[in-house]
């Protein structure tokens, strides 16, 4: 009993978030015109859960008979997802009203997906991991199609669902094969006999299938086909949440299983990861060049960024884990900000998501344009912004582990990316639009954007603020 209480306390951020999502749906069911109440309850609850995650941070270990991680890594990832959820909710308040999906379920589903993300990336038992993955994915399928009358949204939801279900199938089959070989689903136990298992073809097949599932969820080439369509069709803030929270969650689970636990450095699996990394960086960046829609551009850019992070997974070791985590945090701030501004443009300004809709933004909303440039420059990887430092850290890890050639491909593809990120800056600053009218901005959105921009700048200039926490992950 006492053990149960301790374990519950240590996993409090996960429990707290699911409780919160239930409270929100209850408010929605019991009270009329409850949107404002749900909004505030969600925000306060998220803040409380972040505090919980900080409090349990020092208790590094596992709970519930080694099924989930607690403290350290789990806390940091929990804070990452909760922050992403909080920023998404702040930016969504006005947005969902404008696109006519101001249902209470929106907040509920975001919170449910957040719970799934936390479970997904903290699970040390493949079954728990899978439950987390499904909880996250199913919530996101619904969110993708929440704009019911919007046929692109429906298409996105269906596509995401069908391909996602397919990927889940791979994932589950992989778990089954691994279980068949090792008679356990606990990754810590499997890791103890890794050497012996690595020569078993069936085990390798299982790991390979897991890899396919992960590659799908992080949006790595060649499992990336869904990304542009889903990001484009889903409501913009949902895309923001998917590209940051869901991607980060898949990556952190990926890291936990493949790099931190299985430690696959120097095996054949590593070669596969390197190929995925190269393909993602090249295809993501090259195809992004020809995109005219900001959401599709960000989608291809997110494929490319998955490639950079896969360099870290290929390199392996503690340094890579820290590097990828840092990258995910910086990417979360950057991308939520960029999508958030895209959402404002979509609703406030000329009502489109084409890059041309940003024309002359600087002359109407200088602050928005400056922040968007910060996000774009951070995605390019320009110092002293967070995106640069994430890349730098991953490159250091890769070079120290003998993957200099991967970093060279990384920088060459970064050069390509400069062009399409700059294009956004060009239309905002160097072109003018006489017809567009200046509109007012919701204070909640501005607040969230300021937080994101401050995050990008602060952890870029003072990365130690985040790195110091990461010296105590496991």
């Amino acid at each position: 009993m006492e053990q149960l209480l301790t374990d519950t306390w240590l996993t409090a951020p996960i429990g707290g978030t699911i409780l919160l999502s239930l409270i929100v749906i209850m408010i929605n069911a019991l009270k009329k015109d409850s949107l404002a109440a749900e909004y505030w309850v969600s925000l306060i609850g998220i803040a409380a859960n972040i505090v919980l995650a900080v409090v349990v941070f020092p208790d590094r270990g596992t709970a519930f008979s080694g099924m989930v991680m607690t403290g350290g890594y789990a806390s940091i990832t929990a804070i990452l997802f909760l922050t992403a959820a909080g920023l998404t909710i702040l930016l969504s308040r006005e947005y969902i009203e404008k696109i006519g999906v101001n249902f209470g379920e929106f907040y509920h589903l975001i919170l449910l997906a957040t719970t799934g993300m936390m479970t997904f990336s903290a699970g040390t038992d493949l079954v728990v991991t899978f439950i987390g993955l499904e909880l996250m994915s199913i919530s996101l399928y619904v969110l993708a199609g929440i704009s019911r009358r919007h046929h692109k949204g429906n298409e996105a939801a269906l596509k995401y669902f069908l391909l996602g279900a397919f990927a889940s199938g791979f994932f589950l089959y992989g778990i089954a094969l691994i279980y068949g070989m090792t008679s356990t689903t606990n990754i810590l136990e499997i890791a103890q006999n890794m050497q012996a298992y690595m020569s078993e073809p069936l085990f390798l097949t299982g790991v390979g299938l897991l890899l396919v599932g992960f590659a799908f969820k992080v949006g790595a080439v060649p499992f990336h086909m869904w990304v542009p369509d889903v990001y484009e069709g889903s409501p913009t803030m949902v895309s923001a949440f998917m590209s940051t929270g869901a991607k980060a969650s898949a990556f952190t689970a990926f890291l936990l299983i493949f790099t931190a636990t299985f430690d696959i450095a120097g095996t054949q699996i590593n070669t596969v990861l390197a190929i995925l990394a190269v393909a993602s960086m090249v295809i993501g960046n090259v195809v992004a060049l020809s995109q005219n829609n900001i959401k599709r551009m960000l989608a291809y850019s997110s494929i490319a960024h998955a490639g950079y992070m896969l360099i870290g997974l290929t390199a392996g070791g503690m340094m890579s884990i820290t590097g990828v985590l840092f990258y995910l945090i910086s990417y979360m701030f950057t991308n939520i900000g960029a999508f958030g501004i895209a959402a404002i443009i979509e609703n406030k300004e000329q009502g489109g998501t084409e890059i041309d809709n940003f024309r002359g933004l600087y002359y109407r909303h200088p602050a928005l344009a400056v922040m968007m440039s910060i996000f774009m420059f951070s995605l390019v990887g320009l110092p002293p912004l967070a995106g640069f430092f994430g890349k730098y850290y991953i490159f250091v890890a890769a070079i120290e582990n003998g993957y200099t050639w991967l970093t060279i491909i990384g920088v060459i593809t970064s050069m390509i990316s400069v062009y399409y990120y700059l294009r956004v800056v060009v239309v905002m600053f160097f072109q003018t639009d006489e017809e567009a009218e200046k509109s007012s901005l919701a204070s909640s959105s501005v607040f969230a954007l300021l937080l994101s921009a401050a995050g990008v700048l602060l952890i870029g200039v003072f990365p130690s603020m985040v790195l110091d926490w990461m010296s105590r992950l496991f």
Binding site: V380, V396, S414, M415, V418, V425, S464
Partner: protein, 513 residues
């Protein structure tokens, strides 16, 4: 004595930038805040010049604070004889640029001033960084303000020019980033070593890299710097950027930004990779010579004065390249003084072109003529600067070019008089294109009625040109004031290379300080 004087110089413009952004309601407030900040920075930086101890070739005014402990990165800055002069050149040119843009920049004034001040901090940072990570941060920070300055206040083709500028620079610097990381990693593989980006430590560590890898490292750094210089054939971004940039942008670009390339070649390529430097010296000197002649020939056929000045930069920067890779004290001293000369002369030329453009809204040589009678003060200044750019004895250009040619002639590394023979033709060509342009613009008869309406320079314009002219004459007559500051530093650089050439430094053990 000002405590932490280098920190003050480095961050004063940044504080000014914050002030400008806070007071962005009024254009004039922004102009004045910017001017006062940059003048203050200049005054403080004089302290750097005067209290710099020339007898001591080590880094001075050093500041070191741990920054990112996980990667052993520190905020580490300091100056030696080379960088100190370039820092002072930067702080000297910035207020001049701000005054020159007083009226010609009419829209988005606070943003312009803020970007200029940000640029100033970044430029000073590039020259004073003693940590490769910090250097890279400042190096890339240059890009953003320059990108906006060309893109917002530039001419018709500004978007093409600014994107080209950005991408060219990024291409070079990203490979340099890999080399920077690899150097740190190499340090960690040595016995008792750790990952480091400290330039002072790398001065000892980097030369021990085996030659085959050293050549790759050298190439990665050199590509980045040669693009910035710009050396033929990587120069094509320069004419576009110069022609499209507003006057202030051109002055900063020619005056300081190009020097970052040649500075980097001395600081990193020569000092980190002495063996590879010797291997590549003839190739890079040859590139320099090609640049001298190519730049001069292309200048000759230009119809646009600004474009002519831009191509003449390619030619002048070729001299600096030749001076650096002759690897002699005279050549390097000449290269360094030529960096400053080029900053002054070409900067002044761009200022003058900008002044005439503000009045006439054209820069075509064919549109002018007979300006000597119409605007004599302008013509006088124009003549002094033109002669300085040609390298007339008594003015600054001569000192630099002479030292470079002397140094390369005596160079044991190049060991051939042909470099100098070809480079010297560049001096002749320079006289041809500059004087021919000058003659068509200033003398003869006016080819347009509009020239009759031209007004001569205002007090503000004369005021901002005079200090430049002062230094043009000063360096021409008594260069010792500046040369003595940098000589011990440069001597040390050359000595180390000579040791390597004699094969003495190959088995250095790494001193862990």
């Amino acid at each position: 004595m000002i405590p932490h004087v280098l920190n003050v110089v480095l961050f004063l413009p940044l504080i000014g930038m914050a002030a400008v952004l806070l007071a962005r309601r009024s254009d004039n407030a922004a102009r004045w805040t910017g001017l006062i900040t940059s003048l203050l920075t200049f005054v403080v930086s004089l302290e750097l010049f005067f209290s710099y101890d020339a007898a001591n070739p080590a880094m001075q005014f050093v500041e070191k604070v741990s920054w990112i402990s996980a990667l052993n990165v520190s905020y580490h800055v300091g100056l030696d004889g080379i960088s100190m002069l370039l820092v002072v050149l930067t702080t000297f040119l910035t207020p001049i640029v701000l005054i020159s843009s007083w009226n010609s920049i009419a829209k988005q004034v606070p943003a312009y001033v803020a970007l200029m001040l940000l640029l100033e901090t970044a430029m000073i940072g590039v020259f004073s960084s003693l940590d490769t990570f910090l250097f890279y941060v400042f190096w890339e920070m240059i890009l953003v303000p320059m990108y906006f300055i060309i893109g917002i206040w530039g001419g018709k083709e500004r978007i093409y020019a600014t994107v080209k500028f950005f991408i060219y620079t990024m291409v070079g610097s990203l490979l340099m980033l890999i080399a920077i990381i690899w150097l740190g990693y190499y340090a960690s593989t040595l016995p008792g070593g750790e990952f480091t980006t400290d330039i002072i430590k790398l001065f000892d560590i980097a030369p021990t890299i085996p030659l085959d890898i050293q050549s790759w490292m050298f190439a990665a750094f050199a590509l980045s710097f040669l693009i910035k210089v710009p050396a033929f054939p990587l120069h094509t971004w320069l004419p576009d950027a110069h022609v499209q940039a507003p006057t202030g942008g051109s002055v900063i670009l020619a005056g300081v930004l190009l020097k970052m390339g040649t500075y980097g070649l001395i600081r990193f390529n020569l000092q980190f990779f002495p063996q590879a430097s010797l291997e590549f010296a003839s190739f890079l000197s040859a590139l320099g010579v090609v640049g001298i002649i190519y730049g001069a020939l292309v200048s000759m056929v230009q119809k646009d004065v600004k474009k002519l000045v831009a191509y003449s930069s390619v030619s002048h920067m070729g001299f600096i390249l030749l001076g650096i890779f002759g690897v002699t004290v005279e050549g390097l001293q000449g290269g360094l003084i030529q960096m400053i000369n080029h900053g002054l002369s070409t900067g002044a030329l761009f200022l003058l072109v900008g002044m005439i453009y503000d009045r006439r809204h054209t820069r075509m040589i064919a549109d002018f003529g007979g300006l000597a009678r119409q605007i004599p003060v302008f013509s006088t200044f124009f003549m002094i600067v033109t002669l300085s750019s040609i390298g007339l004895p008594g003015l600054n250009g001569f000192v630099g070019e002479f030292l470079v040619l002397l140094g390369s002639f005596n160079s044991p590394v190049l060991d051939s008089p042909w470099y100098v023979i070809f480079a010297a033709t560049g001096v002749v060509f320079a006289a041809v294109y500059m004087l021919w342009m000058f003659q068509r613009v200033v003398f003869g008869v006016s080819r347009s009625e509009e020239n009759k309406k031209l007004t001569d320079l205002t007090t503000r314009e004369i005021g901002l040109l005079l200090p430049v002219i002062l230094f043009i004459v000063w360096i021409g007559v008594y260069p010792f004031t500046f040369l003595q500051k940098s000589e011990p530093t440069i001597q040390r650089v050359v000595e180390k290379l000579e040791q390597v050439q004699r094969g003495e430094l190959l088995s250095t053990t790494v001193s862990d300080q």
